[in-house]
């Protein structure tokens, strides 16, 4: 007889998600990642709107990774209008993205993931035994937000990035302040990162395709070809030929697969599996001292990959700020003409590959909008992992099956709100 176990509205993830597991004869026959969040029709809202309004609306996709949504929408519009930014403005954009990554990873690792490993259910329960650590990660979060605020004008839903550059630029004094903050972040983060790297995750491996941007000497956040591990690369504008979506009657979100129907994983683990050799010196040393190796086929290593990224991107932020102070950007915004066009931008959100795709008419009004979020791309992989992981747990006869399965879900750092969109264009 089949038995169905449903983990309802999983705690400590962004948004509302059920995971349903159907067990038949001691094996998992089916796993369903059910996004419950109301569908937000954002692509429909964008239709007919002026391109200038798009970044403000697109950043409302998500409350955690709004910075990267804003930057990605701006980049897609710039492709559509043929706008190319000078290097310094690109560096500033990268800095906005880095601020978002740092705050998102801190939130996920220490508020959502850490309590599991300490046998607690929330960060508040950790407070009596770990107050100095909690105070330190709160401070790290504040620093990450302050960096975003200096460049983006506001920490949540930053306002300055626009098509052609920025509405205003940070002064030299503010850039110096950001540099001091990035250095403080780098110093303070060392110990909390060591803690995450030392945690013993459940043992589980399943090889899948890892999809991320690939860089030459860097871990790119805003540009580069898209690497599909073991299968080669594709260019951003070709995305529709390489991934496709399926609609599931049980989920408010689209679920994505590669073009052959197989599942794939995006996120920090995919980024490091595809770009491990480009980790900064500090991050690489730390990985070595804890014998963390990439490529890794354990989804739980997504947590470790995020921890290493905290060090890597803090070091990258220092590098960027040094470069900007040496040679500051001249103008905030470059001129361009509005015309018909189509553009795709592929970036790395904290949770993985993010695609924004727009078509504009001659007046700059949106006639097509498509947004593919990381969590939507991960659902099929999460389902495949859950099938195998829960089957293994059943064989071992573990008692805390539900808790361990929740840990697997959390390792993906899902962001259900972003993914819940369901709009038919005809």
């Amino acid at each position: 007889m089949a038995k169905e176990v449903v983990l309802e509205k999983v705690a400590r993830i962004e948004g509302l998600l059920n995971l349903a597991v159907v067990i038949r004869e001691g094996r998992v026959a089916e796993a369903r990642a059910e996004a419950l969040e109301g569908t937000r029709l954002l692509e429909r809202i964008l239709l007919g709107r002026d391109y200038e309004e798009v970044p403000d609306l697109a950043s409302r996709m998500c409350g955690v990774c709004q910075a990267i949504h804003r930057v990605t929408s701006v980049q897609a519009l710039e492709r559509a209008l043929g706008v190319e930014l000078p290097e310094q403005l690109e560096l500033l954009r990268e800095l906005v993205a880095i601020g978002g990554h740092l705050q998102s990873h801190i939130l996920h690792l220490y508020f959502f993931v850490l309590p599991d490993f300490m046998g607690r259910s929330s960060v508040f329960e950790l407070l009596p035994s770990h107050e100095p650590l909690i105070r330190r990660v709160l401070r790290l979060k504040r620093i990450a937000n302050a960096i975003t605020e200096i460049v983006g004008g506001r920490a949540v839903h930053p306002v300055t990035p626009v098509v052609g550059g920025f509405t205003s630029l940070p002064s030299r004094l503010k850039l110096e302040r950001a540099l001091a903050l990035a250095k403080a972040f780098r110093d303070l983060v060392e110990e909390p990162v060591r803690l995450i790297l030392s945690l013993e995750a459940p043992e589980f491996e399943r090889r899948t395709a890892y999809v991320s941007l690939r860089g030459d000497g860097e871990i790119p956040l805003l540009k580069g070809p898209v690497a599909v591990s073991g299968r080669g690369e594709f260019q951003p504008h070709e995305y529709e030929r390489h991934i496709r979506y399926v609609t599931e009657s049980y989920s408010m979100a689209r679920h994505y697969t590669l073009s052959d129907g197989s599942e794939y994983m995006v996120g920090a683990l995919a980024r490091l599996n595809n770009n491990y050799h480009n980790l900064s010196d500090g991050a690489r040393e730390m990985a070595a001292s804890f014998s963390v190796k990439f490529p890794s086929y354990s989804p739980f290593d997504n947590n470790r990959a995020q921890a290493l990224e905290l060090v890597h991107f803090a070091e990258r932020a220092i590098e960027i700020l040094d470069a900007l102070l040496e040679s500051p950007p001249g103008r905030a915004r470059i001129g361009f003409e509005v015309h018909e066009g189509e553009g795709v931008a592929v970036t790395e959100a904290p949770r993985g590959l993010l695609i924004h795709h727009y078509r504009l008419d001659a007046r700059g009004r949106v006639t097509l909008a498509n947004i593919v979020t990381p969590t939507a791309q991960n659902y099929k992989n999460l389902e495949a992992d859950a099938r195998e992981f829960v089957t293994v747990l059943l064989k071992q006869g573990v008692e805390d099956l539900e808790r361990k399965t929740e840990m697997l879900i959390r390792a993906y750092d899902p962001c259900v709100s972003c993914s819940a969109r369901f709009f038919r264009e005809h």
């Binding site: 409350g63 709160l138 979060k141 004008g153 205003s168 049980y250 819940a420």
Partner: protein, 241 residues
């Protein structure tokens, strides 16, 4: 004295307003000394309780299930706070001229139609914290005043009030369609201060005059967007009820 029991709940939303609360960082730890958080899925808090002193609800109501949940929360709570624009207005500032019933959707999970409703369409809301996202300091002020038994009152003035105090150049003068004059302030005019037009995320100011804004747009040669005419039909020159 027993600490007030607090629950934090999400309807459909991006959870950005809760992230703003978390962004209060150290101040949250101080707040937690004065109250007992008994329910918050995002943070993994789930204690058993019957009654809540304060329920904080973010997000819009988008399904029967959410409507049911909201009614239950209301029944067991002394005070209900709507957190953010989705909870206060159903996130309508994003939609503006967009009519829900004309949207073709394939809705999963047995849903019949699309909706995004503010909480007060279904239950009584005691306090509103406006904005997309909310401002953390606003939330802190509400909290302090509730603990002291005072009436929290959101900023009644418009975005221009704070914009002027910051000595910003008026975006309308530059021909940019800024909604500052009709939008509730309290945000510190964050968007115009960064050179971005106000997009109206806190809803209408208490004395919003849409007629007058249309006149300003027209005089300065700014194209009047369709949604302003729609808004004028609803509120005209006076405030919205």
């Amino acid at each position: 004295m027993e600490k007030p029991k607090v629950g934090i709940f999400s309807m459909s939303s991006c959870e950005g307003c809760l992230v703003q609360v978390l962004n209060l960082e150290d101040k949250i730890l101080e707040m937690m000394r004065s109250v007992e958080l008994v329910d918050c899925r995002l943070l993994g808090v789930k204690k058993s309780y019957d009654r809540l002193d304060i329920a904080i609800v973010e997000g819009a109501v988008m399904s029967d299930e959410e409507e049911r949940e909201l009614r239950e929360i209301r029944e067991r709570s002394k005070i209900l706070v709507a957190l953010g624009d989705c909870a206060c207005h159903g996130g309508r500032f994003l939609f503006k001229d967009f009519k829900f019933d004309s949207v073709p959707v394939d809705l999963p999970r047995g849903l019949k139609s699309f909706r995004a409703d503010p909480l007060d369409k279904y239950v009584k809301v005691d306090y509103y914290v406006y904005g997309c996202p909310i401002d953390g300091d606003d939330f802190l002020r509400l909290f302090k005043e509730l603990l002291m038994g005072k009436e929290y009152r959101p900023a009644p003035f418009n975005v221009c009030a704070e914009c002027v105090l910051k000595d910003n150049e008026c975006l309308l003068d530059k021909g940019i369609p800024c909604l500052g004059p009709i939008t509730r302030g309290g945000c510190g005019a964050v968007c115009p201060t960064s050179g971005r037009r106000c997009i109206g995320c806190r809803g209408l100011a208490e004395d919003a005059n849409v007629d007058s804004l249309i006149e300003i747009f027209t005089k300065r040669g700014i194209e009047v967007p369709e949604y302003l005419w729609e808004l004028k039909k609803q509120v005209g020159g006076g405030r919205r009820g």
